[in-house]
Subunit: 392 residues, 2 copies
């Protein structure tokens, strides 16, 4: 069979994630592997926790990266906070709300779903009505930034509702962290998970999580053991605990954590507010350019995620043909639609290191070329000019 | 707070894992990140499956790496094969047998434990007696290579017993794959998991698994949904399925998989039999050197793992002092004992790229120096001479 080493081309990643990985982070991945109990590595773990507290804007002691992708971070939140028989209110406005329901039912709990149109934000008034109707909701779960549609929900209002009705909140911040404000302590969010491969511009595979004191108290007061050994926060805490002795749990993904550490150092260097501002500015530039191309957004203004732009595919333009053209001719990746939006929309990511003017320029030119090939009238040059003007 | 980039020193890793990572693998980790649905990446996933089939010596279609460390691979096997109310016979001769019991009970199943002294292999006669006593065992679970003690059990005999008593087998091959013969199809093992950071010499964070047709049939015949969404093989299969369309499940850890692919290419280049032979030869050399130093093995000859050598700490020599000396003066890591063996033994790994004569030479000299510092009489030079002689 004789399979050879794999040498990938250099792509520009403007889909829903992974985003472009900064060269400093790629370089960190290949540094010499340390033992996972080496005092120097343990020191790096402590630094990573501090940096994550900054990224989450929290003082929560239980703040660390789960050694697996974001969907494992989601599961970590659910299996630790939810017990058999519990009632969980889940807001569904895209793919990831549905996945939350899967998690709830697999915990032996009851999911009460509140649906919203895909492409819209979660509406707090509807959530409050549902919380009132069901007096005994233990957990309110929602997606802050829906990666499947590009809608941003009001996490502050929703976490406030959870507190008002004495429920815990679980917040999916996979795509929001580093791209838009995420203020865990100020909003009093209880369990929040994110992903390494979105606005942190790190490689995929790690899921930062944070748990409030109330969440930790709920975990400690559980009547049933956590159904997952790998994701049991009681055990993970012993491994990631502050300084000193580490209780062996699993073997940490050492080199992947080098990458996450470097990405968080870069976020600290740029400053969170500056990173949010950069994502907002680049979104404005992209939107101005897409407007010139006659491309419309799925999500209405005011609810749009700057870092994940869902747009309708124009009439007469084919989804797969276009994406294949971009990949083949420009080494450029954009995302397809998911679920009901498959074939109808593209998802254009401006996350982390991908949120740069040179990426936007490439995208607008390449997209115009792809559509022109299919007989659609547009000018990439004019789109770029509009994008540049919007930046000023 | 201002935390800087992390620059680890170059250590020699001769503990229980991670082992030394080959420079080719470190280099692969930093290659440009592709989208996880990019056709080129999907092609690499298919190659990785083929290479894993070779490493497992299986034709099982359901052979792939779980996107998380070995303990998640263990959990994947248990949550997919075990249902509430099932009876699982678990052989316990070290830390990882105990962890299997944790997995069984968290699945709502009953664990029947058969204990063996730590440092000994699992005794098939005792297992057969237990299988006879409990007529309705659904799964027999055991550890092929106990990383906590260095004992190698007869996986062929144990898988044969499972078949004889109409049970499925779950085999922990975390430390065995690539270091000693592991013949999944010939032995008719049903669910086997391994780790990337042992004899494959890759970085930690991935867990290769393989499931037989009988195991797949059991998964498909389940009465209850798999309690983990992230580890549900029905869903993972859709993502890693053969060629063509991939159903989105989670975002694969792209760069970590570059590393695993490269490590498997290297295993293919060396040849499995040659890799096994190299581990055996290096073990013989190490054993000859340790003998000169007056250091005794925990496990009796014939049951010893070549790649993981548990040895008693000599009288008058302190565990922590010695390991700190090795790390500080030689940048050399060896492993501590776990559980009842803590403070009494060292675990010396000769896994993958660590199984080289230059590592053995360094270890023998460094260990002799550390013990001499503590007043123990020995000669590192003589130990090295004996090790070299044993190689011829």
């Amino acid at each position: 069979m004789a399979i050879s080493s794999f040498h990938p081309p250099v792509r520009t990643l403007m889909g829903p994630g992974p985003s472009d990985v900064h060269p400093r982070i790629l370089s960190a991945l290949g540094r010499p592997t340390l033992g996972h109990l080496d005092p120097l590595f343990v020191g790096m773990m402590d630094e990573t926790k501090e940096l994550l507290k900054y990224a989450f804007q929290t003082r929560n002691e239980l703040t660390l990266p789960i050694s697996a992708p974001g969907s494992a971070g989601m599961e970590a939140c659910f299996v630790n906070l939810v017990e058999p028989g519990d009632k969980v209110l889940v807001c569904v406005n895209g793919v990831f709300g549905n996945r939350m329901i899967e998690n709830v039912t697999r915990c032996g709990a009851t999911a009460v779903r509140v649906d919203f149109p895909w492409g819209s934000a979660v509406e707090p008034a509807a959530v409050e009505a549902a919380l009132k109707e069901h007096g005994d909701v233990k957990v309110l779960a929602f997606v802050h930034a829906e990666t499947s549609t590009g809608a941003l929900s009001d996490a502050q209002a929703l976490c406030g509702l959870a507190k008002k009705y004495k429920a815990l909140s679980i917040v999916d911040a996979v795509t929001s962290m580093g791209g838009v404000p995420l203020l865990v302590d100020e909003w009093q969010a209880d369990a929040v998970y994110s992903g390494s491969q979105k606005c942190l511009s790190c490689t995929p595979g790690l899921s930062p999580v944070t748990f409030s004191d109330a969440a930790v108290a709920a975990i400690k007061a559980r009547q049933h053991p956590v159904q997952s050994w790998f994701l049991d926060m009681n055990l993970i805490l012993g491994y990631w605990g502050e300084g000193g002795k580490r209780a062996y749990h699993h073997t940490a993904p050492v080199n992947a954590l080098y990458g996450l550490h470097e990405s968080l150092v870069m976020l600290q260097e740029e400053g969170l507010e500056n990173a949010w501002q950069r994502h907002a500015s680049m979104h404005n530039a992209l939107a101005a350019g897409l407007d010139v191309l006659g491309i419309q957004f799925v999500v209405e203004e005011g609810q749009r995620l700057p870092q994940l732009n869902s747009v309708y595919i124009p009439d007469g333009v084919d989804d797969a043909t276009t994406r294949q053209f971009l990949l083949a001719k420009y080494d450029l990746e954009i995302g397809a639609g998911l679920g009901d939006l498959a074939g109808k929309v593209w998802r254009i990511g401006l996350m982390g290191y991908s949120a740069r003017m040179e990426n936007i320029t490439l995208l607008l030119k390449a997209l115009a070329a792809a559509m022109t090939e299919q007989g659609y009238q547009c000018s990439g040059e004019q789109a770029v000019t509009a994008a540049e003007a919007a930046l000023k």
